[in-house]
Amino acid sequence: MGAVTDDEVIRKRLLIDGDGAGDDRRINLLVKSFIKWCNSGSQEEGYSQYQRMLSTLSQCEFSMGKTLLVYDMNLREMENYEKIYKEIECSIAGAHEKIAECKKQILQAKRIRKNRQEYDALAKVIQHHPDRHETLRELESLGKELEHLSHIKESVEDKLELRRKQFHVLLSTIHELQQTLENDEKLSEVEEAQEASIETDPKP
């Protein structure tokens, strides 16, 4: 366990500050100068060394403060990215739904187009046939003509019947007259014959 963390620590330190320039060296220098200051003799040197140590310390603090700020910033960036990621996921899901909606709409539109085309196809066929009103009018006029003609036919037939009957009457009267004339002739012949026999009879 200890070996692992040591490795990690060494790796991290090498990554961050491999060449020894920067904070690590500063801290080592500080420790060395502290020891030197403790062992120093004169007042002035000690004071200047003290000032120098304070400045090194403040430099170290400054760089630490900077790293802390950077760390904060990274954390906040991470949060920001998480937020954006979630938003994008939501919008992807929304887009999926919209796509499904649009697909349904496409199907609907296709059905409508199909219906329109069927309508058009039938309309084309219907256009070939003549207009219904005209045909009705023609039918009416034809019907009227037909009626008229049938009236005429009836009246002509009636007249024909009448004339036939009249001729019939005429012919039958003529026949009767003939008959009567023939009868009359026969009667007159018979009378003449009787008269002739009466004339010959009184002679003896």
């Binding site: 296709k110 059905r111 187009r113 069927e118 058009d120 196809a121 039938l122 084309k124 066929v125």
Partner: protein
């Protein structure tokens, strides 16, 4: 979620997708030599873009396989005069045996007509077969008995389609007529003589109706005569699609009509007769298309096509060919 499987026929006939819940996405193809091969479509993201090989191939029929159709648990394949059923779950194991095999009653026992088309009627749980004997036979899938034989065609039947709203079946055949049969009364309800209409008949190609598709009010048929859209209630041809090559398979999809025939491409038409797109496939002449549209597996929504070569194409997006499979 278990995606649904797909099966299709290569090298001449149909492709079909089973509506099974329990299997990984598979495709199947049957061919002229009677073999049926099966592929598994995983996620439709191919690792290499080269052609894929089938997972299982087995000899289904002694003769050619003309048509296939699938239900939840079975695959039905039809060849010369007989229909065989196979269980999807068993097919993955080697050496599977057919579940049952039936022959519809033919007029003479010497006739062995080919069964060109199979159609499932899910409401009645029955299967309709039609083929070389010019009749449509209905078979109940539970009992296996042949219930009706619809006669009326004068020449053999090529294709069948189901009209969902009124339970009617449309059949198109070599005699150039599309006949509508009512399944409840077992009678012919309507006949559309496609070859007699001048706008769409092309006598130099013949009168045969190679493909049929219906959308309850509308019907598309093609083959010898030009590919035409008909309005069924008035039996009038409304749009003629300007393509010279006879089309062998046609289907409705969303607001488009997909057709495939002689010629490299799968054609996408709008109902007004405009060609929206032509997507080239791998075979020089295409014979069959199949769409997997079952709602349980939307990621397996593919179109496959097959034709005169040993390759089949899978389209994930109708605009381009995703990858080929080889038989």
């Amino acid at each position: 979620m278990h995606p649904r499987g797909a099966d299709y026929l290569v090298d001449r006939r149909c492709t079909d997708f089973p509506s099974s819940n329990h299997l990984p996405p598979q495709s199947r193809a049957g061919d002229h030599n009677g073999r049926v091969a099966e592929y598994i479509l995983r996620k439709l993201v191919p690792k290499n873009l080269g052609p894929k090989k089938p997972v299982v191939t087995f000899q289904a029929h002694d003769g050619p396989v003309y048509s296939m159709v699938s239900t939840d648990r079975h695959l039905l394949s039809a060849g010369d005069g007989e229909v065989k059923a196979w269980l999807w779950a068993e097919i993955l194991k080697k050496g599977c045996k057919e579940l049952w095999q039936r022959q519809p009653p033919y007029r003479t026992s010497l006739e062995v007509p080919e069964i060109n088309a199979l159609l499932l009627v899910p409401k009645e749980n029955s299967l309709i077969l039609a083929g070389g004997d010019c009749q449509l036979h209905t078979m109940d899938l539970e009992t296996g008995t042949f219930t009706r034989a619809l006669r009326g065609h004068t020449d053999y039947v090529h294709c069948l389609a189901l009209r969902e709203r009124s339970p009617e079946v449309l059949s198109g055949g070599e005699d150039g007529a599309v006949r509508l049969w009512d399944l409840r009364t077992a009678k012919e309800v309507q006949t559309i003589e496609v070859c007699k209409h001048e706008e769409c008949s092309r006598p130099h190609n013949g009168r045969w109706i190679g493909c049929l598709a219906t959308d309850s009010d509308w019907m598309v048929c093609g083959g010898g005569p030009a590919l035409t859209l008909w309005h069924l209630r008035s039996s009038t041809p409304t749009t003629i699609f300007p393509i010279r090559a006879p089309q062998k398979h046609v289907t409705f999809y969303q607001d488009l009509i997909l057709s495939a025939g002689q010629g490299l491409c799968v054609n996408q038409w709008q109902l007004s007769g405009e060609l929206k797109a032509q997507v080239p496939g791998s075979s020089l002449g295409l014979l069959s298309l199949s769409l997997n549209q079952q709602p349980a597996a939307p990621e397996c929504k593919v179109l496959t096509d097959t034709g005169n070569s040993c390759r089949m194409d899978v389209f994930t997006n109708l605009g381009y060919r995703a990858f080929p499979l080889s038989f």
